[in-house]
Symmetry: C2
C-alpha cells in the first residue's frame, strides 16, 4: 500500500479499497473538479400510477431493488441504539446468499454487534461510517477484510453528492410515512425528530426503500424525505425501540469537574464579548454541553441578550430558551430528547436542517460557517491544537466524527475538556489520530486553565484583565504530565484499519490496528 | 427543417434550435436514458466564510456571475404580472452589450412587453417558456429569431433536471431572503406564497442570484429556496407590485353560463361517486373552477364527507374548506390570493409543494398521479378528446401550459368548457395545437351536454339513470356547428414558431406562424 505524508505530516494511504485517495492538503486548499453524481433518469411510467409503492415485506423490497453481491447498502442512524431494521436487512442478505456488501451507515451503534457474524462470513465486506462500540473494536483489531472509512456528517453528504460513494440501495427507517414514500421522524412510536442523515441517500441512491411502523394515508406531512425519491415502502411491526432512540429527558452533568468546565467556558464567552445581541451558538447534548447552554441562558438573562439562533442537537434546555424567547430559532440536526421532538413538531421556529444545509463543504457555503460559538469535545488534543475524536489513547476506534469536523468552521471553536481522564493526560505532543487541524480550534478549556490558539490574537487580547486562568497549551500539557507522567503510546501494528476523511474528501489521517 | 409525424399524426420538428428533438410516442411510451444533469462540484472555499453573499446591485451580481453572450438566463413567474426584476436584468445585459441570451422563464407576462426591443436588437435570441400577451403575439407573427419552446411546469423541471436546458444564471426574486440566500415567498411586501417554480433553477443553475426587497438576518425561515444553492444575494427597493402578484381576493364567477358549467361538473362528480370520503381534487383558480370548489364544499357538507387533500392554486374558498375541516391538507403549488398566502404562512396543513413533488414526470411518481378529480380548462377540444390550451382558434399563441399537462395524469380529468366562445365552436375535428392527448381526458362538460371519453366505461356506467345530459362528443360538436357553423381554420404559414413539449420532453405538437 502506498502511503504519503499529508500537510499535517501524517502518513496516509493514497488508495482506499482500490480507489484513489487524496491526502489532506490544508484547510480550504483542495479544489475539487468535475461534476456531482448524476442519478439515472427515472420515469413515472415505471412506477405505480396510483402512487402506492408499498410492498409486503422488507425482503420483497430488497429483492425488487435488485440486491446482489458487492452492492452498497446505506442507512441512517436517527434510531441510534434502538434501530431494529439494519440487522434484519443483513439477515435477509445472508438468507439470500448475497456476499461482499458494503454497509454505508451514517453511524452504527452497539445494537449492530449482531452484524459481526456477517463481517466474518463475507456477507458484509466492510463498513464505511462511524462505528460505536463492538464494531469499532472489531475493526481496530484488524479483523475487517477491507478498510473502514470514517466521514463527518457533512463529509458523508459530500461523498455521496460527489459520487465518491455510489449507493445502490438506501434503507430509510421512519417514524411516519405514506405509501408513496413521503416520510418524517416527527410522529409515531419511533419518532426520531428528523431524518436528515438519510437525505443524501434519498436523493442519490439508485433504489430507496422507506420502512415504517406508522403508515398513514398520503400525504405524510411534512415530508422530510420526499416520496418522489422513493422506490418502495414497507410497513413493519416495529422499526425501533423508542426509549433507545431519544432520551425521555436529557440531564445536565452533576459532576463538579464538568460543571466547572462549563462555567469557565461560559465565562470565557462572556468576557471576550462572544455572547452578544444576535449571536449564535451550538453546544451539543453531552452533560457538559447542556451545562454550557444553561450558563449561557443565565448570562443572557442577566444582560438581556437574545441569540438569533442555536444549532441543535436539540434538548429540553434549548427548547426552553426558544420558548422563553431567548433564541429566535433552533436550527436542528437531531433531537436528543422528547422535548426536542415535541418542539420540532409544533414550533415553526424549531426548524429541521440537514447535513446538506448545515455541513456539506462542497456546496456554496453552509450553516456551520455562520455559527459564532461552537462547543465541542475531543479525546485528545496536541500542542498544535490538532484534535482527535475517534480513537482513545489506547488506539481503539470507538467513536464517530459526527458533525464535529464540520462545526470547526464556526467562528469560535471551544473544546472544554478535562486535563486528564483516568490519569491519562488529554493534551500531548501528538494525538493518536488527527480528526481536525489545529488552525480551526481556537480555545481549550480545562479545569486547570484555558489555552487560546496563538492564531486568535483577538481572543488573547480580549481576555486580558479578566482574571481567567489563561495558559499556553504547552503549560497545560506540562502540568498534566507533572501529575500523571508521560502517557505510553498505544501499541499499533502497520495495518491501516480505517481512513479518516476531511470534509473535502481528502484523507486527514488513518487508524492502525491495535496490538494487544 | 426535418419534420416527422408523431403518434398523434402531428408534424413536428426533429431538431429545435440545433438540438435533437424526439417526437411524442404516446403516453408512457418514451423511455428516457442516461443520467440527470450534474452540477459542477463547488466548494465552500470559494464562498464568503461569514455566509454573507450580498452584493451591492443586480448589475454587480450579473457581472460576478460571468454574464456573457449566448447564456441561458432563467426566472420564475411567482410575481406574475407584477414582476419588476426581469426587465431590469435585460436592461443591464443591453447596457453591458451582451447578445444572444436565451431567456428561460417559467412564464412571462404582459409586463415583459418591454423585452420585445431586446428580441429585436439581438440582446435576447429567444424565449423558452410560456408567453402570455404581447410576447406570444410577437412570437406568433414569426418575429422571434429562434424557435420558442413551451413546457408544462413539470416539463420545465424535467428539462432542467435532465440537462435538456442548462441554466447559466438563475434569477430568483423573493418576498423575503437572508444574505446567505435562503428565501421564501411567504413574507414581505411582495409575498407570492411560494417559490417552487424556481426550485429546479436553484438546484441546477450554474450561478444563482436571489433578489429581494426584504432582506432579514440569517436565518430566513422557512427556506423554500436553500441558500446553499445560491451564489449572490441582492437587496433592491422593490421586487414586485404586490397588487399584481396576488389578488386581494379571488371571486367566483357571476356568469350564469359558467355557474351552470360548475354546477353540472359538481353534480357529475357526485352522481358518479367521485366525491367520496377521503377523496382529493384540484380545481384551479379561474372563476368557474372556484365555483366548482364551492359546489364541492356544499355537497361534502350535505353528505358529511371530508377530502384528504386538495391541490392548489390556493384561494379563499379552499382555505375556508381547510379551516372548516372539510379538507385535511392543501398541497399548494401557487397562491392566488391573500387568504392563500396567509394560510400557507400560518397553517402547517397548508403545505407548499413544487414542480418536483407534484409534476416532474422523470421522477419516481409525483403528486398529480394521486389526485382523484382534476378540473381543467381548454381553448379547443377535438372529437378524440385531444385538447389545446396554448393557442386560440385564430392561431395565436397566447397562453402557457402551466401545470395543465401534468394534471392530466390525475385519476379523472374533467374539462368544463362552453360549447362556443364568441360564436366559435370549441369542439372541432382537429384542434389548432394538441397540448394533451385525448386518452388522458375523461369528461367534457358543456352547457348543452356532457361527453364522456369512451375509454371510461366505468363513468359511462355510473351516470346511467342520473338524468345528466350525456351525449357523445360528436353530438356536441354537431350541435355547436348547427348553431355557429363550421369555423374557419386559422391562416398559418410554414414557419414553426414554437414547439410544444410533452411532460417527458418529447414534442407533442408545434405552433406555426400566423398569416394576417
Amino acid at each position: 500500500m502506498n502511503l504519503e505524508k499529508n500537510i499535517l505530516g501524517r502518513l496516509v494511504p493514497t488508495e482506499i479499497n482500490g480507489e484513489k485517495a487524496v491526502p489532506f492538503q490544508g484547510v480550504g486548499k483542495y479544489k475539487p473538479e468535475g461534476r456531482r453524481y448524476a442519478h439515472k433518469i427515472t420515469s413515472n411510467r415505471d412506477y405505480p400510477s396510483d402512487g402506492n409503492k408499498q410492498v409486503a415485506s422488507l425482503k420483497e423490497a430488497l429483492i425488487k431493488s435488485g440486491l446482489k453481491d458487492g452492492m452498497t447498502i446505506s442507512s441512517h442512524h436517527h434510531f441510534r441504539n434502538g434501530d431494529l431494521i439494519m440487522n434484519q436487512v443483513f439477515d435477509i442478505a445472508k438468507e439470500l446468499g448475497v456476499k461482499g456488501l458494503r454497509w454505508f451507515p451514517s453511524a452504527s451503534f452497539p445494537c449492530h454487534e449482531h452484524l459481526i457474524q456477517y463481517l466474518e462470513d463475507g456477507t458484509i465486506s466492510h463498513i464505511e461510517g462511524s462505528m460505536n462500540g463492538a464494531l469499532g473494536r472489531y475493526t481496530s483489531e484488524g479483523k475487517m477484510s477491507k478498510m473502514a472509512v470514517l466521514r463527518s456528517h457533512g463529509g458523508r453528504y459530500q461523498a455521496v453528492q460527489d459520487g465518491e460513494v455510489e449507493i445502490d440501495i438506501a434503507i430509510i427507517g421512519a417514524g411516519t410515512a405514506d405509501p408513496f414514500g413521503n416520510a418524517n421522524g416527527l410522529y409515531g412510536d419511533s419518532a426520531s425528530g428528523l431524518l436528515g442523515f438519510a437525505l443524501a441517500d434519498s436523493e442519490y441512491a439508485d433504489k430507496v426503500i422507506v420502512v415504517t411502523d406508522n403508515m398513514v394515508p398520503f400525504p405524510c406531512v411534512p415530508w422530510q424525505i420526499q416520496g418522489n425519491n422513493v422506490d418502495f415502502t414497507v410497513k413493519v411491526d416495529k422499526v425501533g425501540e423508542p426509549e433507545k432512540i431519544v432520551s425521555g429527558t436529557t440531564q445536565i452533568t452533576k459532576s463538579p469537574d464538568r460543571l466547572l468546565l462549563a462555567e469557565m467556558t461560559a465565562k470565557f464567552c462572556d468576557v471576550t464579548g462572544l455572547i452578544k445581541e444576535g449571536f449564535s451558538f451550538q453546544t451539543g447534548a453531552g452533560g457538559t454541553s447542556l451545562a454550557v447552554s444553561d450558563y449561557f441562558s443565565k448570562i443572557m438573562k442577566e444582560k438581556n441578550i437574545k441569540a438569533r439562533f442555536a444549532r441543535g442537537g436539540s434538548n429540553k434546555y434549548l427548547v426552553r430558551m426558544l420558548e422563553e424567547g431567548q433564541i429566535d430559532y433552533i436550527l436542528d440536526g437531531q433531537t436528543f430528547d422528547l422535548d426536542g421532538v415535541r418542539s420540532m413538531a409544533e414550533n415553526p421556529r424549531h426548524t429541521w436542517t440537514s447535513p446538506f444545509t448545515s455541513y456539506n463543504y462542497h456546496s456554496k457555503g453552509n450553516f456551520a460557517d455562520l455559527v459564532d460559538i461552537v462547543i465541542l469535545g475531543a479525546t485528545e488534543v496536541d500542542v498544535n491544537f490538532n484534535a482527535n475524536v475517534v480513537t482513545h489513547s489506547d488506539g481503539y476506534l470507538l467513536h464517530g466524527i459526527g458533525g464535529w469536523q464540520n462545526c470547526l468552521f464556526s467562528k469560535t471553536v471551544i473544546l472544554p475538556i478535562p486535563l486528564f481522564r483516568d490519569r491519562i493526560p488529554v493534551i500531548m505532543d501528538e494525538v493518536t489520530t488527527i480528526c481536525g487541524p489545529g488552525e480551526l480550534i481556537d480555545v481549550i478549556v480545562t479545569e486547570r486553565g484555558i489555552a487560546i490558539n496563538p492564531l486568535r490574537k483577538d481572543l488573547i487580547e480580549a481576555v486580558k484583565g479578566s482574571g481567567l486562568p489563561i495558559k499556553t497549551i504547552q503549560e497545560l500539557k506540562d502540568e498534566a504530565e507533572a501529575i500523571c507522567g508521560v502517557p505510553d503510546k498505544p501499541v499499533l501494528g502497520d495495518k491501516i484499519v480505517a481512513a479518516i476523511k476531511w470534509v473535502d474528501g481528502t484523507v486527514i489521517d488513518c487508524v492502525r490496528e491495535v496490538k494487544k
